[in-house]
């Protein structure tokens, strides 16, 4: 039973922490460990008055730097967003299973919604077989959409208010039957629709899930998702699950 020196809590100075738009921020920190697409980190500023680290997925990794894209949705992420370059942050990771990129063969659709686009950029950059089609759905501000362009065959941007790209819901602009594999991350209602449709059409589908977490390592059983094989931990058994295993 060897301890894994690859995964530990470390304290590091953040390099950048920038506002991208309204309530979307991006933190950049140095990391010697190359994460897998779909993995995440538990992040906690040393000066914040909140208790638990927050799980934030890897948006990108390059030249020893991880980029973490996150939405301010409560007290903890608000405190994290107020941190500045050189502030110290406690970081644990990379955590979770991530996407099995090498197994992705065929025609691929990547469908993201809202802050759910965060883990998909690093995924898209790492798919080597062929460039996927990417569909990104937003409420209004189409943050970080342009970052996907160089890595996809076709990029479809959808906003609910029609201010940029197509108007409506992103799921209305994907023809699922055109693809061998579908990968999704976003609001539950969006992922459920995709999972259901892929199930009906027998198309391979993977979803990256988000849940409230405490430990991040699989011990507290706070982030459980029901699967056909019983309860699974989003932090340890996921966050990426095959649609075959999920009960929609």
């Amino acid at each position: 039973m060897e301890s894994n020196p690859m995964m530990k809590t470390s304290i590091t100075k953040i390099l950048e922490n920038n506002r991208i738009c309204e309530n979307i921020f991006e933190m950049v920190a140095a990391s010697d460990i190359k994460p897998l697409p779909g993995q995440f980190y538990m992040i906690k500023g040393l000066n914040g008055d909140y208790l638990l680290p927050r799980p934030i997925s890897v948006h990108d990794y390059q030249d020893g730097k991880i980029r973490l894209l996150y939405r301010v949705s409560g007290h903890g992420t608000n405190q994290i967003s107020r941190m500045k370059a050189d502030d110290e942050v406690q970081i644990l990771g990379p955590l979770g299973n991530g996407f099995d990129v090498e197994s992705l063969n065929g025609k691929i659709a990547i469908i993201g919604g809202g802050i759910g686009i965060a883990p998909l950029l690093y995924l898209v950059k790492n798919i080597e077989t062929q460039k996927p089609d990417v569909y990104l759905g937003y409420k209004d501000d189409t943050f970080c959409a342009d970052r996907f362009r160089p890595y996809c065959k076709e990029l479809t941007v959808v906003t609910e208010d029609g201010s940029t790209g197509q108007k409506g819901y992103v799921t209305d602009f994907v023809n699922i039957s055109d693809y061998d594999i579908v990968i999704t991350c976003g609001p539950d209602i969006m992922m459920e629709k995709i999972l259901r449709e892929c199930g009906e059409k027998n198309i391979e589908v993977y979803a990256s899930l988000e849940k409230r977490m405490a430990c991040g390592v699989g011990a507290c059983l706070g982030c459980i998702v029901n699967t056909k094989d019983g309860n699974k931990r989003v932090c340890k058994d996921g966050p990426v699950f095959s649609g075959r295993d999920l009960t929609v």
């Binding site: 039973m1 894994n4 530990k8 208790l51 409230r212 977490m213 405490a214 390592v217 507290c220």
Partner: protein
């Protein structure tokens, strides 16, 4: 070097720091991060006779310096524990505490019978679960119900028996004394405090069960008071817990009367915090010219 070694229920604890039940699984996940054999002990995830899926809906909710949970005792059941998880825990060269819950007295008795033949070092009897026969009142609320339960369990228990008290007990001193009289050889406290949160936008309670257990730094002063009261009420040793997040907190509990302590929610805040606590306790003793941790147990 100050001595951190403590004897508790006839077992040697290399230091007084034990990972708390429900926050550490069976040690497996944390052992991927650090050698959990460095701890004084590990208290297992709460076990029940049969496996449990746990609660639906939101299971975690952060509060100012606290954490509410409603996991619902999700666990693989005792049969699995004895054939699988216990073998993993045994490799860690630390004291192995089996935390046992139940809904009826028979659940406890059948559970203890299974654990008697296992390799666990100590049984921690969690009497905070609802007692269906007593109208859903927790075994841990009324001293007379706790007394009867502990007495029956003690009669068949082949392992050192530690009873985990609920802070929701009517009187912690009476509860402690009743459990001692019934044959408990040690007490651990406190379990989580019954609490509530409401989602004002959904106009619903956050948790499906309405109430959930509060832990973390927010409960520490209450836990410390209760440990002190229990320690004054009994002669048997005490395992203190409730929001311990630093060596200072741990030393406070020890001074209040705990021989060993459990660290729970703090493991979530910093995965290897138990190692920091052990190191800082040693430094504190050294800086204060205290040669042996045993010198300060219950000095308040």
């Amino acid at each position: 070097m100050a001595n951190l070694k403590v004897e508790f229920l006839g077992k040697v604890f290399k230091n007084p720091i034990v990972a708390a039940s429900g926050t550490f699984g069976f040690g497996e996940e944390y052992n991927e991060i650090y050698d959990v054999g460095l701890l004084g002990g590990i208290s297992s995830k709460g076990l029940t006779l049969n496996s449990k899926q746990g609660n639906e809906g939101i299971r975690l909710w952060e509060t100012p310096m606290g954490l509410m949970n409603s996991i619902g005792l999700q666990n693989p059941g005792l049969e699995s524990f004895i054939s699988r998880e216990i073998n993993i825990m045994k490799q860690y060269k630390t004291n192995l505490i089996a935390n046992l819950g139940g809904n009826t007295l028979d659940d406890y008795l059948n559970g203890v019978l299974l654990l008697n033949d296992s390799d666990v070092d100590i049984i921690e009897l969690n009497i905070s679960c609802p007692n269906i026969k007593a109208g859903g009142m927790a075994f841990g609320i009324k001293a007379d119900i706790a007394y009867a339960t502990v007495k029956a369990v003690r009669g068949i228990c082949g392992k050192p028996l530690m009873v985990k008290l609920s802070p929701n007990a009517e009187s912690i001193s009476e509860m402690a004394a009743a459990c001692e009289e019934a044959g408990a050889e040690a007490l651990s406290l406190i379990n989580t405090i019954n609490a509530m949160a409401i989602d004002i936008y959904a106009k619903k309670p956050v948790f499906n069960n309405y109430y959930a257990g509060l832990s973390g730094p927010a409960v520490k002063p209450i836990a410390l008071r209760m440990v002190h009261q229990a320690a004054k009420a009994v002669m048997i040793p005490i395992c203190g817990m409730g929001g311990i997040s630093s060596a200072r907190d741990a030393i406070e509990f020890i001074m209040a009367g705990a021989s060993i302590v459990q660290v729970g929610t703090a493991n979530f805040v910093k995965t290897d915090i138990c190692l920091d606590i052990i190191r800082d306790m040693e430094e504190f003793l050294h800086s204060q010219g205290i040669r042996d941790i045993n010198e300060i147990i219950g000095i308040i």
